[in-house]
């Protein structure tokens, strides 16, 4: 530890303004603050002591909360492949998980390398510290895409969203849209065939390092939501809760997502107001559609299927793009639930509505806040006239 400290102290002069390797300042700075809590003390005129919480720890917590869903997602990628080939009985747990791990890892690496690379460059250019926001986005992105998404598409989509959805607005904390969802939306509208389309995108199709099975080109597995759009009711609710169904990598298991949700709510990183409201809004709307016969799915099915839980727990609660007033969080969450189910049921083109619902409400979050803040302003103005 001491030698590491010394190492940073030694290389610091080289990367500072005017040093030989100044172009690497943001990189060194990023790694130094990763290794050590900054020793910088508060300036004169500001509070002298500070709470130990910082955005690095908050973002790391979200990443930790995502781990159960990610690990289960890897297992499920293997499970779906072996199940499709009919060799599930012969495969061990580690074979399934290993296959999924190898299928998912390149996506995580591409997402982080492209996204963080851009973050480092921007931080260097602006002379700021690296912002941790992408630590979360970078792991969210591989979890919300189908396993068969080509890496080059992923790289383009990540670059698009980091630059155009985040950095041009001023970086983490200033963005209007959730960058992970913008990545998915970019893929969804630019390359629809690999995101939904022929239903052959959800199950890994070929072997990796000898693991897994090659599936025939014509193999297709629709998600239960895809089936529901065609009017079929949900066959196996139990599988939908454990998550052994086709779907985007991280979104399938309700149980794994619930573990993450507990951590986020307990630590207060995610707002329970937003999260609960999404479920209430979605559940009520789904019950209504089911009662009127518009959808074969009950309210319970709607919630456990697709990206509903994942979106409610990890995406809707993004503090930057959601409503910032406490009252606004209820409305924001509720409308996400309503719109998500409405898109699913009423629009035959989109079996899944969570992404569109959250992106739509990202736009309206400032409007919702506006009404709450304005009521405070009006109260003050009225008081002044009296």
């Amino acid at each position: 530890m001491k030698s590491l400290r010394k190492f940073f102290d030694n290389i610091k002069p080289y990367v500072e303004e005017g040093g030989k390797f100044h172009a690497l300042r943001s990189l060194v700075d990023g790694f130094e603050t990763f290794a050590f809590v900054p020793n910088q003390t508060s300036r004169v005129g500001s509070v002298n002591i500070h709470d130990a919480i910082d955005s690095k720890r908050i973002m790391s917590l979200v990443v930790i909360a995502l781990m159960p869903a990610l690990l289960f997602g890897m297992y499920n990628v293997g499970y779906q492949n072996y199940a499709a080939a009919g060799t599930l009985a012969n495969a061990s747990f580690w074979e399934l998980f290993g296959f999924g791990f190898l299928a998912v890892l390149p996506k995580i690496i591409v997402s982080y390398v492209v996204g963080l690379g851009i973050e480092f460059v921007v931080a260097q250019w602006k002379g700021e510290e690296i912002q941790e926001g992408f630590l979360v986005s970078g792991i969210l992105i591989p979890m919300i895409i189908p396993v068969n998404t080509p890496l080059w598409m992923l790289a383009i989509a990540v670059a698009f969203s980091v630059i155009l959805a985040k950095e041009i607005f001023g970086g983490t904390g200033m963005n209007v849209f959730n960058p992970a969802l913008v990545t998915r939306a970019f893929l969804f509208f630019s390359y629809p065939s690999v995101m939904t389309g022929d239903d052959n995108v959800w199950v890994a199709q070929s072997t990796i390092f000898g693991l897994g099975n090659n599936l025939p080109d014509t193999y297709a597995a629709a998600t239960p939501l895809g089936n529901a759009a065609l009017g079929q009711p949900l066959a196996d609710q139990c599988a939908a809760i454990t998550g052994l169904i086709p779907g985007a990598i991280g979104e399938t298991s309700v149980i794994a997502i619930a573990l993450g949700a507990i951590l986020l709510l307990w630590t207060g990183v995610a707002s329970w107001k937003t999260m609960i409201s999404v479920f209430v809004g979605g559940g009520l709307t789904a019950a209504l559609f089911h009662a009127t016969g518009s959808s074969p799915l009950t309210w319970c099915d709607q919630i456990v299927l697709g990206g509903f839980c994942f979106g409610a727990v990890f995406m809707a609660t993004d503090p930057v793009t959601s409503a910032r007033t406490e009252g606004g969080k209820y409305i924001y969450g509720f409308l996400i639930g309503v719109v998500a189910v409405m898109v699913r049921v009423l629009n035959p083109g989109f079996p899944e509505g969570m992404m569109l619902a959250i992106l739509l409400m990202n736009i309206f979050a400032p409007l919702i806040d506006y009404f709450f803040v304005q009521s405070n302003i009006n109260k003050r103005a009225k008081r002044a006239i009296k």
């Binding site: 990763f34 050590f36 500070h50 955005s55 926001g133 904390g173 207060g268 503090p319 302003i377 003050r380």
Partner: protein, 443 residues
């Protein structure tokens, strides 16, 4: 029975090194100083020369805009130095005491405001909006006094009040002749001098810090509207006024809490405004360590050195570790059991509220844009959207600042919010700068 206002929002921070309720005697320093910067918003004009002899209550400098407002010497002696900095900015006026404490005699009959202006005690009024020195031409809507400080390591005013009960009431009586006086007290304070104070309206504020901030109390009793002016005064300064009313002499003696984890024997000391800190800290701290000496409270005070002078409004001197060589490894993921945090990702919630923490002056993170929402609101017990107000100040949008209630706040009201902020924004500095700009624009 006094009205009780319950506050839920806020945070009590339990720091090690609270001052024991005993008073130690400290020696008389060789020099006292009155620092104009302690009186926010003041443009000072020196009225003495080096070598002049002054009595207690003689003016050292005056307000350039209102030359009748005196800022007076706490001691009798000779002016030893008129210290100036860049562009001849007045830094301090220092007085070498002669040990006699000869005081100028004031006539206490007649107009109270004129008496306070003449005797220098008016300088201790602060006004809202802007949280600056008051303007004697204003007619304030009310005068607010908070009899307790809820910040960590702060002075226990009930202890300071012992033996000064008569003076305190006399001070309140005098203030009530200027405007209606509101006194805010804590439910823990039981002294009848406070609970049954006369010539003022007593309100009990029950809640965590910053419940003791006079700004919070104003917001709940009679919020300030645009165009209105409210004056505030520290509780101990009311005693100054009382002493003047009873004796006709200025006596700026305070009971200062010398506290903090790095103070060997935290206790109280009876000193004068402008006392050199060396005398307070002599033998109390280990000078070989890297320490942060704070002139005033740990939440709101300014970093100073042993050679600094006790600030005009300071009721405590806090000393904490600077922590600039802590080198904490992988702090973003380590459990850090001994670290205090309001956040549940640390374990201080397990250790209960009784545990006392040692905290150093590190920011413990990098400055970011505002990311989390609702962090400030949890510890900001006013009917104001703190986050939106801070954003309006950063953006320089004056109309919006007014609409969101900037006239009701002072930098100190944001101290707890700044403490808990995970984005590490310097809220007090932002608010101070915002108020200064607004004051200039409205002038």
């Amino acid at each position: 029975m006094a009205k009780v206002i319950k506050l839920r929002k806020g945070l009590d921070i339990n720091l090690k090194g609270k001052a024991a309720l005993e008073t130690v005697t400290v020696e008389c320093p060789g020099e006292y100083a009155l620092v104009p910067d302690d009186f926010t918003g003041l443009k000072p004009k020196v009225v003495v020369k080096e070598g002049d002899s002054v009595k207690v209550g003689d003016a050292l400098f005056v307000d350039k805009l209102h030359p009748e407002v005196n800022f007076v010497s706490p001691v009798s002696g000779t002016v030893s130095l008129v210290e100036r900095g860049d562009r001849r900015k007045l830094l301090s006026v220092r007085v070498k005491p002669d040990g006699k404490q000869e005081a100028r005699q004031f006539n206490v009959k007649g107009d109270v405001k004129a008496l306070l202006v003449e005797s220098g005690l008016f300088a201790f009024f602060r006004q809202r909006p802007y949280d600056v020195v008051a303007n004697p031409e204003d007619k304030p809507k009310a005068i607010f006094v908070s009899a307790f400080n809820s910040m960590p390591l702060s002075q226990d005013f009930e202890y300071a009040l012992k033996g000064q009960e008569k003076e305190f009431q006399a001070g309140l009586d005098a203030l009530s002749r200027i405007a209606k006086v509101y006194l805010g007290i804590s439910p823990k304070q039981t002294s009848p001098v406070l609970t049954a104070a006369k010539n003022c309206e007593v309100t009990v504020f029950d809640g965590p810090a910053p419940a003791g901030n006079v700004g919070v109390q104003i917001n709940h009793i009679s919020p300030i509207n645009k165009g209105e002016v409210v004056w505030t005064m520290g509780a101990e300064e009311v005693i100054f006024v009382g002493r003047l009313m009873l004796t006709g002499k200025v006596d700026l003696t305070r009971l200062v809490a010398v506290a903090g984890s790095e103070v060997k024997k935290p206790a109280y000391a009876r000193v004068l405004v402008g006392q050199k800190l060396t005398t307070l800290l002599n033998g109390q701290i280990d000078a070989s360590k890297s320490l942060r000496i704070i002139n005033g409270n740990v939440m709101t005070g300014l970093k100073t050195t042993q050679d600094g002078f006790l600030g005009a409004h300071a009721t405590e001197v806090n000393v904490i570790p600077e922590g600039d060589h802590a080198d904490e490894f992988m702090g973003w993921i380590a459990p850090r059991f001994n670290t205090f945090s309001t956040h549940r990702s640390y374990f201080s919630w397990l250790l209960g509220k009784k545990k006392e923490y040692v905290m150093d002056a590190r920011i413990k993170g990098g400055e970011r844009h505002m990311i989390m929402s609702g962090e400030y609101d949890k510890v900001f017990p006013m009917d104001i959207y703190a986050g939106y107000l801070v954003k309006a100040i950063i953006a320089g949008d004056i109309d919006r600042q007014e609409a969101l209630g900037i006239y009701e706040v002072a930098p100190e009201d944001f101290a707890i919010a700044e403490f808990v902020d995970s984005s590490k924004l310097e809220l007090q500095r932002i608010v101070r700068e915002g108020l200064d700009i607004l004051r200039k624009e409205n002038a």
